[in-house]
C-alpha cells in the first residue's frame, strides 16, 4: 500500500494569503500537493464551523491564513478573526483535538516563499500526528 498522504483544508483570504499562494505558483515553487484551497474574502469571514465541518467531513488538518495584522483589506477583519481563533484553538485542544491539527498563519501577497514553507510545515506536522479520527463523521 502506498504511503498515507494527509488531506489538508486551506482557508485563505482573498487579498493576502490567496495571492501569496498564487505567487508561489507562478514562481514555480515546490510545496506538498496536500492542500485543498478555499478562498474567502477575509480571515474575518472564517466561521469556526468551517473548520469543524472540514474536520468532520474527513480533512486531516485545517490551515487558516490571512493578512498580517495591520494589513487587512477591511481594516480590522483579521483582528476580529485573531480573537476568535485565540479562543477556538485552546478550546479544540481542550476537548482533545491534537494541537497541530488546526493551524493559523499570516501570509502576505508578497510572501510566496513563505506560503510554500508554511504548507510544507503544516503537511509535515499533520503527517506526524497521523489521520484524523476524532470528530470525523462515520469514523
Amino acid at each position: 500500500m502506498s504511503e498515507w498522504e494527509p488531506k489538508i483544508l486551506a482557508v485563505l483570504c482573498n487579498w493576502c494569503s490567496y495571492a501569496g499562494a498564487d505567487l508561489a505558483g507562478v514562481s514555480r515553487m515546490q510545496y506538498p500537493p496536500n492542500i485543498r484551497v478555499v478562498r474567502v474574502p477575509c480571515s474575518g469571514r472564517v466561521d469556526p464551523l468551517f473548520i469543524l465541518k472540514g474536520l468532520q467531513s474527513g480533512y486531516d488538518g485545517v490551515l487558516v491564513s490571512g493578512c498580517h495584522p495591520g494589513d487587512c483589506h477591511y481594516i480590522s477583519g483579521n483582528y476580529v478573526a485573531r480573537r476568535r481563533f485565540a479562543v477556538l484553538k485552546p478550546l479544540l485542544e481542550f476537548v482533545g483535538i491534537e494541537p497541530d491539527r488546526v493551524q493559523f498563519s499570516w501570509i502576505s501577497a508578497g510572501e510566496g516563499e513563505r506560503f510554500a514553507e508554511v504548507v510544507s510545515k503544516v503537511t509535515e506536522d499533520i503527517k506526524k500526528i497521523g489521520p484524523a479520527k476524532r470528530l470525523v463523521k462515520g469514523a
Binding site: Y79, A86, V87, V118
Partner: protein, 320 residues
C-alpha cells in the same frame, strides 16, 4: 423576603415599574417558579432562597424580547450571575437600561437538587426549608438538616460575584466581588490530562446528550433568531445524536457564547442528562479572562470580548 415584597409593592404602587419578574414557591419541594407581578397584591407570593435557580434575564431575550420592547418599565429580581446576564444584554443593546429596574438579592448559591437527593439516598422529599445557611428536608419518617454550602450547584461553589454587579435597589447589603484566582481549578485539572484522555472523557460525557437543546433555550446569552443547529440551508450539523455532531454543537455553542457566558450554570441545571456542560464554558471564560482581561457582564461600559480587539495582542497560537 419581607423586605423584597415591600420593595416590590412600593415600586408598583408608586408607578415606578409596571411589572416585576421574580420567583414564587413552586409546586414541588425545593423548587421555585418564575412569576410576573403586575399588582401590589400579588407581590406577597415573591420569594428568594436557594431554590431560585432560574436566570430571569432570559425573559428579556429570545421570543420573549417583546416584553422589553414595549414601553413597559420592568423590574427584575436578580442574583449575581443574573445581573451579569442583564449587563451583557444591555451592552448588546437587547435591553434599554432606562426601562429596567434591577433589584438585587443576596445570594448564597442555588440548589443542585441532585446533591440534595444524594444526601438522603434518593428518598422522596416532601418538604423543604432553607434559612439561608442550612437546609432541612423532610420526608416519610425522616428529617435531615445540612449546610447549604454542601448542596449548591457547582457553578455557585466557585462563584465570586454572588451579589448583583449592577443594581438600582438591593435587598440588604451587597457584598464586594471576591478574587477569582481559584475559580478555574477544575479546568486546570482537566488541562493536565493528555490529549487522548481528554477526548475520551469528552466522548463519554457528551455521548449522553440527546440534543434536546434545553441548554440553549435556557441561556440568556443564546438568542439568535435562527440557531445554527436549526438551519437547513446549508445544514451545518446533523440532527442525530452522533458524537461528532454533538461535539460540534457544543463546541460551537461555546464559541457563540465566548466572552458572553456569565457561567450562571442554568444550562447545566437544565440538562436532563446531567452532562457537565460548564466545563467547556469555563475553559472559554478562562481563556477570555487570561487573554483579553475581560470578565463578562461586569461593567456597562465594557464591550463583549469577541466584539473587541487590540492591535498588539498575544498571538502565540499563530505560526511564526
Amino acid at each position: 423576603m419581607k423586605e423584597l415584597r415591600e420593595t416590590v409593592k412600593s415600586l408598583l404602587t408608586e408607578g415606578k415599574v409596571d411589572l416585576v419578574i421574580g420567583w414564587e414557591k413552586g409546586t414541588m419541594p425545593g423548587a421555585s417558579t418564575p412569576v410576573f407581578i403586575d399588582t401590589a397584591e400579588k407581590a406577597d407570593s415573591l420569594i428568594f432562597d436557594s431554590t431560585c435557580r432560574n436566570n430571569l434575564s432570559v425573559y428579556f431575550t429570545k421570543d420573549r424580547r417583546e416584553l422589553a420592547k414595549d414601553d413597559k418599565k420592568i423590574g427584575v429580581v436578580v442574583k449575581g450571575c443574573d445581573s451579569r446576564s442583564l449587563v451583557l444584554n444591555i451592552t448588546e443593546k437587547q435591553i434599554d437600561r432606562e426601562k429596567v429596574t434591577i433589584i438585587g438579592v443576596p445570594c448564597n448559591g442555588v440548589l443542585d437538587m441532585k446533591k440534595v437527593t444524594g444526601k438522603v439516598d434518593g428518598k422522596e422529599i416532601l418538604e423543604f426549608t432553607d434559612d439561608g445557611e442550612r437546609v432541612t428536608v423532610k420526608g416519610r419518617e425522616f428529617e435531615q438538616t445540612f449546610p447549604l454550602d454542601e448542596v449548591i450547584s457547582d457553578s455557585c461553589v466557585t462563584c465570586v460575584r454572588r451579589d448583583a454587579v449592577e443594581h438600582d435597589l438591593f435587598i440588604g447589603e451587597a457584598r464586594e466581588p471576591g478574587s477569582d484566582e481559584n475559580a478555574y481549578v477544575e479546568v486546570e485539572e482537566f488541562e493536565k490530562l493528555d490529549s487522548g484522555e481528554r477526548w475520551a472523557r469528552m466522548e463519554q460525557e457528551y455521548s449522553a446528550c440527546i440534543r434536546c437543546y434545553a441548554c440553549r433555550n435556557v441561556c440568556p446569552s443564546c438568542y439568535c433568531n435562527v440557531c445554527f443547529v436549526d438551519q437547513n440551508d446549508p445544514q451545518w450539523i446533523g440532527k442525530s445524536p452522533e458524537i461528532t455532531d454533538t461535539m460540534i454543537f457544543h463546541i460551537i455553542r461555546n464559541l457563540h457564547v465566548a466572552g458572553r457566558c456569565v457561567e450562571c450554570g442554568a444550562c447545566e441545571r437544565a440538562c436532563p442528562m446531567d452532562i457537565k456542560l460548564l466545563l467547556l464554558n469555563r475553559k472559554v471564560a478562562k481563556e477570555v479572562r487570561d487573554r483579553f482581561g475581560s470578565v463578562t457582564g461586569t461593567g456597562l461600559e465594557n464591550k463583549p470580548a469577541m466584539a473587541d480587539f487590540k492591535e498588539d495582542e498575544n498571538q502565540d497560537f499563530i505560526m511564526g
